[in-house]
Amino acid sequence: MKLYLKIWRQKNASTKGQMVDYTLNGVESDMSFLEMLDILNEELISKGEEPVEFDHDCREGICGTCSLMINGRPHGPDSMITVCQLHMRSFNDGDEIVIEPWRAKAFPVIKDLIVDRTAFDRIQQAGGYISVNTSGRPVDANAIPIEKDMADKSFNAATCIGCGACVAACKNASAMLFTSAKVSQFALLPQGQVEAAERVENMVRQMDLEGFGNCTNTGACEIECPKGISLENIARMNREYLFASVKG
């Protein structure tokens, strides 16, 4: 098929970018979206132009690196997948496809479609862990039985891949879904209880410092999240936070 691409090009963080039009022929429906971009890049390179840079690594929907806003939706039109899992069969011959980077103040553009998501790392550094020594000798794993339901819920929260689609989708560029997934993962386990109050306060503080917006419960994040992280996590974080603040 033939496609009309409109792609954000920007040299680096300090220059201004703009949308550039490309026409691409010979795209097959079996190709993944990123393979389609690979082909475009091959063409650009053969013409001596700089290829379009975009973030990607595992290309199987788990590392959370890929991050494209496609026709106004993070990770494209399909649901419950990342861009690298999106295939061209979701598009038709002659389609126009607008490709932009994630947009958020807290995610500045590095180059073309690549943004800096280290804000997410800093949120996790602020408290996204359980303080046990890795060189210590903990108790036997089965000494802490955990209700299957709780373990599964914690797992579900923990499957967040840190891609940032929630921020990209949210009209407020809020990072509540991500942060709440990280908070919930530990809050749901007995091992995480000890530091629960401190953890949620520190992580929310960092989230606010990074300049993400405020949640207005539109639910866009949940719909666009490739891992189906639930809004329940946000409610849980709000709850945890309120208890933590009241406790002082």
């Binding site: 954000w8 932009e100 103040k105 503080r205 993400f212 207005t216 419960n217 719909i223 709000n238």
Partner: protein, 222 residues
């Protein structure tokens, strides 16, 4: 504790609490208003009580006014911060694909309500204040019904009221259940809360609109 005032979650909670407070006020308001349709005498009594009871006048009324102010000021603060959080905007952004219109446009429904509140204040509150304190008229427990009905005589005012109530409906459609999520309530009752929200968001503004229309269509003939 300091987090409770400064953090994004705290701002959300303030929004939710003030919003819920206004919701409760709405219930009271619509009940009394409805009396003007079915029981004008009772309406007069209730209005008089509200207008002259010191508890209502010096405690509840200021709280209500502060509640409204806190709510919309916080609404503006959030909106400004949220707009800033995006930085460079998208060329193409398909908000409709993942979030309902009402949830994305709370500021606009809120602004219309605010404008309406301005008119409403002018119509009733300023009027009351002038009547009571500037003109220093004597108490008259029977005047309210007639005054109210008269207000709805002009077609334009009735229309403005009705349009505002539609926007109020949209505001509540998202806002009511959303405030529970903001306060950390999302559990097995959530579907029920959502259903109730929708019912509430339709019934209450509809009642208001009905009252306005009713009085417009049934003027007091002298």
């Amino acid at each position: 504790m300091s987090g409770l005032i400064k953090s994004s979650i705290a701002r959300k909670v303030v929004m939710a609490l003030s919003g819920l407070f206004l919701v409760i006020f709405l219930v009271l308001h619509v009940t009394i208003n409805f009396a003007s349709v079915i029981a004008p005498e009772f309406f007069n009594e209730a209005s008089h009580f509200m207008g002259y009871n010191p508890l209502v006048q010096y405690l509840m009324q200021p709280i209500l006014i502060i509640g409204v102010i806190v709510h919309f000021v916080m609404g503006f603060v959030l909106e400004i911060q949220n707009r800033n959080a995006r930085g460079v905007g998208y060329v193409k952004y398909k908000g409709s694909a993942n979030a309902p219109w009402v949830s994305r446009n709370m500021i606009y429904s809120g602004l219309v309500i605010l404008a309406f509140l301005g008119l409403h204040f002018y119509d009733f509150w300023i009027h009351e204040m002038t009547y009571k304190y500037i003109q220093a008229n004597p108490e008259d427990p029977t005047r309210y019904y007639a005054e109210t009905v008269e207000k709805f005589a002009p077609f334009w005012r009735t229309i403005i009221y009705i349009v505002s109530f539609v926007l109020l409906s949209l505001h509540l459609w998202h806002g009511f259940s959303s405030s529970f999520q903001s306060m950390g309530v999302n559990n097995k009752y959530t579907p029920a809360i959502k259903t109730f929200t929708k019912l509430f968001a339709v019934v209450v503004p509809l009642a208001f609109a009905f009252i306005a229309l009713y009085h417009h269509l049934n003027p007091i003939t002298h």
